[in-house]
């Protein structure tokens, strides 16, 4: 496997800062990495090249601490390390820039920076926000001068996000910088900037691991190059001892190759004709090809070349312009009667007309985990096997057994849970699913992904058999041997365009790879790093090509526009409108006492809404807050009745609220059950406890202390309003300025990325629930004081009103979005609408209907807004 000559570098071999020995990773049925060695030296850039699936990503993920090796060691400065998490790897001095950014969309760039580098604290221990701003700005401006770090990450373009990730990595002052295809989407000027930064990093004795398909960049930047192939290291050489052709040969050269079948000859009938096919999202442009009956058309492209999007578009899952003509299915052996244009058809219609797509990434896009092998197989063809909507299980069983035997799926029977099969057999199940639809055109996307050699050969046999039966096969594959062995013709995609079609017979792997690689830019090494490189001929960089060398600022939406789209402004305007209408229409509306009443009435609800908002932002939901309110009110009243002083009267409800909230949070985290179920159960329990404690009797007389709390005032302002204001400010501070609060946004907004950054729900979620409980505890105390009594049904229905006010206020039910100001405005809006209805003598019965309508409008507005934000980039 390793046929290199070690220590061929003429320069003094310094001690490696990163040393990998025998690193291996196995997945069911497949060897991703097999005993790979790698050394990174300070001040040296080391290139890692290989085809798709050679093992580069696996190696990088292990260095990043995202996955654990099955064997082998990683040593930093001589000491072996075990990375338990990405945070650990980062702390050990390895900074990785992945192909896709992990920025939390709803947090600002500065906060994303803080999640990685920690929050700077001032002398008092509070977060030093201005310090953070300047530190983050300093980091980011290295790559993007002038970028406003107060912007939410979601407003950045893909290029900008990548530049920010690079700057974050550099800011970590790592000893090792790993760059995974960093220039894949970067236009020329940005790539230049990157290389300059890398050079200064190297000059400071940093070590760089550079993964790229752009061989010209490899030659320009790196000192050593390692070639990976099929999970093994082929060789490692100093850059001076190799050249382009040598590299390509090493990347693809293999001993084993699959044999071609020359008896398989394609027909002449054209089954599929694709013309001027252009993706709406820009992933591919102007694709033209035709597929004939019995033909296997291979498609090769590097990651990001557009072939994955092409497959999705052919099935109808992505919108694209152009023509896709599919020949009509011939019935009873008659000659096909014309063709049908698929462009307007939904996915289901295309399948019925004979198109089938076996997608890549079978776990995410293919397998149904809770279904059996048989159910997974038949799911796409149930239409043919049902009568009156009921599945004919006899027919289904027969078809499934046939599939199992024909495809030689290794399973004890169709009833086995599909997930328990090996990768290769899962792939066969997926293939069987689509073969059962009897397609005319079969699109296979990476059919050998994660599949062992034995199953691979079987899949090839099946593909050939389909072709023999007259099916047209579009084989999108990164595995060259399979592609060249099976295909009659090989189409090559590069940066969104179908650039060449080679005859399958006689094409070599070098030819294909050469065609698929981005064209060479012959920049002499001394010139590299100059901001304006030599004039470019046709050098689009992937889907985000920009003619200019400036960073693309987000189009259309200026900063002002973004402010206007903010929920809070809309709510504010609506509120002013309602108040205006009320003042105009109702004579007694615009009085201090009326305003005071409205605010007072909403205060108790506001507290609950603020708490509910915090929990929802953190990704949970608490429908027991009504019951918690009741119990808190009860606690306060009981303490009061027993004659305790004000101190305990305050302490009891707050403790009850916070404690119950924390309990909800802990049960959710440790039970690993969705919070809606936990809090539903808690609601029943707490309602029961309340009834039991009260023994069915209402508490009707409370002391003056309580009444003063609830009905007192400071000057002209009632206590309730003061508490409401304090609570709003407190929530705003917690949500906007504390580490815990900001981490709630990360947790609720993108739990997966958050976990990679070390943000875990274990403590954060119970804290959010406890915060909400605290608010509700206070609300309970105020409720008891204000109404002077506690009934057995105190608090019923409170939770849903609180959630409604939060949702109207802009809190996204899916988490990660919302502000205290918005919640305040939402609660006020509901209050003033209700007030108007009362004044207009519109009966109180309209209250619910109007609340409901407002909620629905709020949700629709949210959806429209998110959709607009997404398409703007």
């Amino acid at each position: 496997m390793d046929d290199s000559a070690k220590k061929s570098s003429p320069a003094a071999v310094s001690t490696p800062v990163l040393s990998v020995r025998g690193l291996s990773k196995f997945y069911p049925g497949v060897v991703a990495l097999d005993s790979v060695d790698l050394d990174l030296h300070p001040g040296r850039a080391h290139a890692l090249v290989g085809e798709n699936g050679a093992g580069k990503s696996t190696l990088i993920k292990m260095l990043a601490g995202a996955i654990r090796p099955d064997a082998g060691t990683i040593a930093i400065n001589g000491t072996a390390e075990r990375f338990s998490s990405p945070v650990a790897a980062r702390r050990a001095g390895i900074a990785v820039v992945h192909q896709h950014s992990h920025l939390i969309p709803d947090l600002t760039l500065a906060e994303n920076y803080a999640l990685r580098e920690g929050y700077p604290r001032n002398a008092v221990g509070a977060v030093a926000w201005s310090h953070l701003q300047s530190a983050a700005a300093e980091a980011v401006h290295v790559m993007i001068p002038g970028m406003d770090v107060g912007r939410r990450a979601s407003t950045l373009s893909g290029v900008e996000k990548q530049m920010v990730e690079i700057s974050f990595a550099l800011a970590a002052n790592p000893s090792v910088l790993v760059l995974d295809e960093p220039t894949a989407i970067l236009p020329h000027a940005e790539s230049d900037r990157l290389f300059r930064m890398v050079r200064s990093f190297l000059a400071r004795d940093g070590a760089v691991l550079f993964v790229s398909h752009r061989l010209d960049e490899v030659f320009m930047l790196c000192d050593t190059v390692t070639v990976l192939r099929d999970g093994c290291r082929v060789w490692v050489k100093p850059i001076g001892e190799t050249d382009n052709d040598d590299l390509i040969r090493a990347m693809v050269g293999r001993g084993v190759s699959f044999e071609r079948d020359s008896t398989l000859v394609p027909g002449t009938e054209e089954l599929l004709k694709v013309s001027r096919y252009t993706d709406a999202g820009g992933a591919f442009q102007d694709v033209n090809f035709s597929l004939h009956a019995g033909e296997i058309l291979g498609v090769y492209g590097l990651v990001g070349a557009g072939q994955a999007e092409l497959c999705a578009a052919l099935l109808g899952l992505r919108s694209a312009t152009g023509n896709v003509e599919l020949t009509k299915k011939a019935s009873n052996g008659d000659a096909a009667a014309g063709s049908v244009e698929l462009s307007g058809c939904a996915a289901g219609a295309r399948v019925r007309r004979g198109l089938a797509l076996v997608p890549a990434e079978r776990l995410e896009r293919g397998m149904f985990r809770q279904m059996s092998v048989g159910e997974n197989m038949s799911i796409a063809s149930l239409g043919q096997k049902s009568v009156l909507g009921l599945v004919r299980t006899g027919v289904e069983q027969r078809d499934n057994l046939e599939s199992i035997s024909e495809l030689r799926v290794k399973t004890t029977g169709p009833h086995k849970l599909a997930l328990q099969l090996s990768g290769g057999n899962q792939q066969k199940v997926l293939l069987a699913r689509w073969l059962q639809t009897h397609p005319q055109v079969l699109v296979l996307e990476e059919p050998s992904q994660g599949v062992d050699v034995g199953a691979k050969m079987e899949i090839h046999r099946l593909v050939r058999e389909q072709a023999r039966r007259g099916v047209g096969v579009l084989l999108v594959s990164s595995e060259m041997p399979e592609l060249l062995a099976l295909s009659h013709r090989v189409a090559i995609m590069r940066q969104g365009k179908l650039v060449e079609v080679l005859p399958g017979d006689g094409a070599t792997e070098e030819q294909v790879l050469k065609s698929a690689l981005p064209p060479q830019e012959n920049i002499p090494a001394e010139d590299a790093g100059r901001l304006d490189g030599p004039a470019q001929t046709d050098q689009p960089s992937g889907a985000e090509a920009s003619g200019s060398s400036k960073i693309k600022h987000p189009p259309k939406r200026s900063r002002m526009a973004r402010w206007f789209a903010r929920r809070e402004l809309g709510l504010g305007i609506l509120l002013v409108l309602i108040i205006g209408i009320s003042a105009a229409v109702v004579p007694n509306f615009a009085t201090v006492s009326n305003f005071r009443d409205v605010l007072q009435n909403q205060s108790i609800l506001l507290l609950g809404a603020l708490g509910a908002g915090a929990v929802i932002i953190a990704g949970g939901i608490d429908i027991s807050v009504g019951a918690i309110l009741g119990l808190a009110a009860l606690a306060a009243a009981r303490v009061d009745q027993e004659g305790h002083g004000a101190g305990l009267i305050w302490l009891a409800p707050l403790a009850v609220g916070a404690g119950l909230g924390a309990l909800n949070g802990l049960l959710t985290v440790f039970g690993r059950v969705h919070s809606i179920v936990i809090t539903l159960g808690m609601m029943f329990i707490l309602q029961g406890v309340m009834l039991q404690t009260m023994g069915g009797k209402w508490i009707l007389s409370l002391s003056d202390t309580m009444t003063n709390i609830g009905r007192g005032a400071i000057g002209p302002i009632p206590n309730l309003i003061i508490f409401g204001a304090i609570a709003t400010v407190l929530t705003a501070v917690v949500l906007g300025y504390t580490v815990v609060g900001r981490k709630w946004y990360a947790l609720g907004g993108d739990a997966a990325s958050a976990r990679l950054l070390g943000v875990s729900p274990r403590l954060l979620l119970p804290l959010a629930f406890a915060f909400s409980g605290l608010m509700v505890g206070l609300a309970g105390l105020l409720h008891a004081g204000f109404y002077g009594q506690v009934q057995t049904n105190t608090g019923r229905g409170y939770e849903l009103k609180a959630i409604a006010a939060a949702v109207i206020g802009g809190v996204h039910i899916m988490g990660g979005r919302g502000t205290a100001l918005g919640i305040l405005l939402g609660a006020l809006l509901l209050g003033f609408i209700n007030n108007l209805l009362v004044f207009l003598h519109i009966s109180a019965f309209w209250d619910n209907a109007v609340t409901g309508a407002v909620i629905l409008l709020a949700v629709c507005a949210d959806a429209l807004n998110s959709r607009r934000e997404r398409t703007a980039h």
Partner: protein, 331 residues
């Protein structure tokens, strides 16, 4: 094969055993509980919850939720109440059904077509429907229905209460749809892996929309049964009903996160909860403890369900690893 049967029917079997144990215990505590007439009465009163639970099962299977069913029950009852005097019984019932249909289209349209989160949509429609019911009825109950109407809620068919027969019949239909129909498979697929459902070109929008419509229609039916049983249509009927239904469905073994579900499980869940209430009442244990017990059972069962699910998938992955490391026979 045994593993398959266990996976498919295991939970229902456990639930049935729990139900029997529960009946035995309650019967020891209060023998009147096991009286045939009592059992029938009890089950009959659970029919409304049970019928709605059938639809809710499917909705939860897709990973969604419908909080508006309680309010819709009240609304359909009110609609019926106001239509029956001027237009007669059949038209009034049709009117109630039409209200259900409209509600279902609203919920389903927003969730399936506009792709809005079901929790918030049905939170909104919950308030909306309740509000409409209150506005129309002005808070006043409607009664004095034609005599024949009482047949629905208090009549008998072959010795069994009408609504019980209807409920059991619908459970059987629901079971067939869940386990044997195309739509049932699509529902499981959508809840299990929505991305894979898209790539499998399943008609997920149509299916999801129909589920909300079906649940609303079932709610309309439950509304008629309820109105007939208590002989009154009120705007505050059904408060808290949605949570009872959801509790029964989750207890019955359908995961709140979506995927495989069981109509029979929901049926047993309704019975287990309902019998618990009634039985404890007979034994002199106050409603308070019943409520607490219901909450505890819900939380405990959900955690157990989750652990079982995790163990299943872990063993699946281990088996997959094991089969991978076995020597593969030559292709």
């Amino acid at each position: 094969m045994i593993a398959y049967l266990w996976r498919r029917y295991g939970r229902q079997i456990i639930l049935a055993i729990i139900l029997l144990i529960e009946m035995a215990i309650l019967g020891r505590m209060a023998p009147e509980f096991l009286d045939r007439q009592n059992l029938l009465d009890m089950s009959t009163n659970l029919a409304e919850t049970g019928i709605i639970a059938i639809g809710m099962t499917f909705i939860i299977m897709t990973g969604g939720i419908d909080l508006s069913v309680g309010s819709l029950l009240a609304l359909c009852g009110i609609v019926f109440g106001y239509l029956v005097k001027p237009f007669g019984l059949p038209l009034a019932m049709a009117g109630a059904a039409a209200a259900g249909l409209a509600a279902g289209l609203l919920n389903g349209g927003l969730v399936a077509l506009a792709r809005l989160p079901s929790l918030v949509v049905t939170l909104g429609t919950m308030a909306l429907f309740r509000g409409i019911a209150m506005v129309v009825s002005q808070g006043k109950p409607v009664s004095q229905f034609p005599k024949e109407f009482a047949e629905l809620g208090r009549g008998e068919w072959a010795g069994y209460p009408v609504q019980l027969v209807i409920w059991v019949g619908l459970v059987i239909v629901g079971m067939i749809i869940c386990d044997r129909s195309r739509a049932g498979r699509y529902v499981i697929a959508v809840g299990d892996n929505p991305t894979a459902a898209r790539y499998a070109a399943l008609p997920e929008r149509t299916v999801t929309l129909s589920l909300y419509v079906a649940t609303s229609l079932l709610t309309a039916l439950a509304a008629l049964i309820f109105t007939s049983r208590v002989s009154t249509a009120k705007a505050d009927a059904g408060i808290g009903l949605e949570l009872e239904v959801i509790t029964a469905v989750v207890l019955g073994g359908t995961a709140i996160t979506g995927g495989r579900g069981t109509v029979v499980g929901s049926f047993l869940g309704v019975l287990i909860l309902g019998f618990l209430r009634n039985g404890l009442g007979f034994a002199g244990i106050s409603t308070v403890y019943q409520t607490i017990l219901a909450g505890v059972i819900l939380i405990v069962v959900s955690i157990i369900n989750q652990r079982m699910l995790e163990r299943e998938s872990r063993s699946g992955r281990k088996k997959a690893k094991a089969t991978a490391s076995e020597p593969q026979p030559a292709g």
